[in-house]
Symmetry: C2
DNA sequence: TTGAAAGCGCTAACAG
DNA sequence: CTGTTAGCGCTTTCAA
C-alpha cells in the first residue's frame, strides 16, 4: 500500500504544529480558540488531499475504538440476520460500528472470538449467549467490560439483557392451536438445551396444554445432529402421537418439520413456530408465527450498551419485549 | 474497564527487558537464541496472569491488522450469508479475521464503509460490488490495497475476481425448462441493473430461447421498489404472457415470484432460480436451482487475497466457477 | 492562540 | 543471548 498521510505530514506541509491540526480535526477549534483562518486552511487542505486519521492510533491513544462486537449463533438464521441488520443501523446513529461473528455452535471458537474482540479493544459486547459461555462473559463483567445479552440470558449471571416474552408467546401460540384451530393433540418440538428462552417457551406450552387438560407431548431435538436425523425424529414424533398440531420452538426446527411433513405427506396442518421466516406464508400448510419484535429488541440493546459505555447507566437493565402472534 | 497488563508490566515483573518478552511471545525465541529457561519463565508467567498483547498497538507498529473486510449487499440473503460463513472459516485458517458489513443497497453507506475499513488498516477487501462502487474501488486499487471481487465484477476495472459461470448456468436452466419440462413459454425475471452477473444470466437465457426458436420474454424489476409492487409486476408478467415457465435471476426474485404465484393461484409450475434457498424444495411448485459452488468460490477468494497480501501474486487472478443445476 | 513533548503498547534495529 | 531505544500516528497537558 502507498504510504498514507499522517497528521504530522499535514502539519509540516502547512507549516504549523500537529496540536493545532489535531484540535481542528476534533472539533475543538473554537474551544481552543483557534483562528477562523487557521481552521479553514487546515480543513480545506485536509479535504483536498483526502487525509483520514489513522483510527488505530487514535484508539490506541484514547482507549476507545467506537466499535461494538456482536456475537450470534448463526448469522444465516433469519432472526439473527435481521437483528444484526437493525443493531448495525442503530449503532451507526451513535457513531459506533459493529463487527459481527457467527459462533456456529462452537464454544471454543466463541471464547476465542470474545477474547479476540477484547484484544482489539472493543468498547462493548452484544451477545446471544450459549451455555458454555458463562465463564468468559463472567470474566468480561469482572473487567467491567460493557455487555448486553439478547434472545436469552444466562441463569447465574447478573447482566443487562433484552429478551422476548417467551412464556407468554408460547402460551398464546399453543392456545391458538387448541382453541381457534381446534387441534386435538398439539405437540411441542424444541431443542435439547437448557437455554432459558427455550425453557420459557416450554413453560408457556405446558401451561396452555395443561390449562385445557390436554396431554403434554414434547420432543427434544439434539442440536448437533445432521438435519436428516432431525427430520426422521420429527416424522416419528408426529406419527406416533398422531398429532394434528405442532408448536416449533425455533424457525429452523419448523423448517425441518416442514420437510418431514412434506416428504412423508404427514396429515397435519396446524403449525405455529417461534420466529418468522420468509417461507412460512408460502408453504402448504402455512405456518403461523410467534414473531419477536426485532426493531424494539435491537433498539433496546444498543441504547443499553451505549448508556453503559458512557457511564450513564445506573444498575442493570433487563428488558422483556412482547411477541406478536401472526396468524396464517 | 480494569487496566490491562502491558508487555512492559510483564518485563518489569519478571525483571527482564521488553525485547526478550516480545521475542518470546512472537515465537522468535530460538531464532534469537533465547535460553530455554528464560523462555519457559516468560511463557508460564504470561499464561498465569492471562496477558494478551494489545492488537491495536501491534497493528499500529507492524502496519498489518490480520483482518479482512467483507462487503456484501445483504447479509440476510442466503447466498451471501453462506458465503460469508465459508470465507470466514477459510480466512481463519490463515490466521485472518473477517469483519463484515451489509451495504443494503446504499451506495453512500458502502463508500463510507470501505473508507472506514481502510482507516482501520484492514489488510484486504472482499467485495460483491455494485455499480456505484467503481470509483472507490478504483481508489483502493490505486493505493495498492489488495482487493478481490466476487459474485460479479465491474466492467471497467481490472481486478481479481471470482464469479460463477452465469451464462452457462442460465443457458442450462432455460434448456431444462424448455426441453425436460417441456415448457412452451419461458420468461425470465431479472433485476433492472447492469451488473455483469445479471447480464451473463440474461445472455444465457437468450441463447437457449433463441436456439430453440422460442420467443424471448423478459421482465426487469426495479431493485428498490417495495416487494408488493414486485409481486404485482410478476403477476402481470406471467398472466399477460401466459407463461408456463420462469427463470428467476436471483433467489429473492424467486421468493417474490412464489408469493405472486401462490396468492393469485397462477397456473405455472416450471420454475428455475439462480441460487439455492431452503424453501425451494418445500414449496409447491418446487423450484429447481442453478446453484453456485459456494465452498469453491469462498476458497478461491480467500486464497487469492492472501496471496496478494503476501506479495506472492503475479498479475490479476480471475476465476470462473461452474454452477450446478439442481433439479426438482 | 499555538507549539513542544510525553506517552498509549508494541516491534525490531542496533548495541553490547 | 539480552537490553536500550526509536518510532508507528494520535491526543492532550503544559508552557509560551
Amino acid at each position: 500500500m502507498k504510504k498514507r498521510l499522517s497528521i504530522s505530514d499535514i502539519a509540516k506541509n502547512l507549516g504549523i504544529s500537529v496540536t493545532t491540526v489535531s484540535f481542528i480535526l476534533n472539533d475543538k477549534a473554537k474551544e481552543k480558540r483557534i483562528s477562523e483562518a487557521q481552521t479553514k486552511k487546515v480543513l480545506d487542505y485536509v479535504a483536498q488531499v483526502g487525509y483520514k486519521p489513522n483510527q488505530l492510533a487514535k484508539s490506541l491513544r484514547t482507549g476507545k475504538s467506537k466499535t461494538l462486537g456482536l456475537l450470534v449463533e448463526d448469522i444465516s438464521n433469519s432472526f439473527f440476520a435481521n437483528i444484526a441488520d437493525q443493531i448495525e443501523k442503530f449503532a451507526y446513529d451513535f457513531g459506533y460500528h459493529i463487527v459481527y461473528c457467527s459462533m456456529n455452535n462452537d464454544v471454543n471458537r466463541a471464547k476465542e472470538l470474545i477474547q479476540l474482540f477484547y484484544d482489539r479493544q472493543i468498547d462493548g459486547f452484544i451477545i446471544a449467549p450459549t451455555e458454555g459461555l458463562t465463564e468468559v462473559i463472567q470474566r468480561l463483567l469482572k473487567n467491567n467490560v460493557p455487555v448486553v445479552l439478547f434472545d436469552r440470558h444466562l441463569e447465574d449471571l447478573d447482566t443487562n439483557y433484552v429478551i422476548s416474552e417467551n412464556h407468554k408467546g408460547a402460551y398464546e401460540g399453543t392456545r391458538f392451536l387448541l382453541e381457534e384451530k381446534q387441534a386435538a393433540r398439539v405437540g411441542m418440538i424444541t431443542i435439547d438445551s437448557n437455554q432459558l428462552q427455550m425453557r420459557g417457551r416450554m413453560e408457556g406450552y405446558k401451561e396452555a396444554v395443561c390449562g385445557l387438560e390436554k396431554k403434554m407431548l414434547v420432543e427434544k431435538i439434539v442440536r448437533e445432529q445432521p438435519e436428516e436425523e432431525t427430520i426422521q425424529q420429527i416424522r416419528a414424533f408426529i406419527a406416533e402421537n398422531q398429532l394434528d398440531g405442532v408448536l416449533f420452538a425455533t424457525n429452523y426446527l419448523a423448517l425441518s418439520g416442514l420437510k418431514a411433513i412434506k416428504r412423508y405427506n404427514l396429515p397435519i396442518d396446524k403449525l405455529v413456530s417461534f420466529d418468522e421466516n420468509a417461507l412460512f406464508s408460502l408453504v402448504e400448510p402455512a405456518v403461523s408465527a410467534i414473531s419477536q419484535n426485532i426493531p424494539v429488541i435491537a433498539r433496546q440493546v444498543v441504547d443499553i450498551l451505549i448508556n453503559e459505555i458512557n457511564g450513564k447507566s445506573e444498575g442493570l437493565v433487563q428488558v422483556v419485549v412482547p411477541c406478536e402472534l401472526i396468524i396464517r
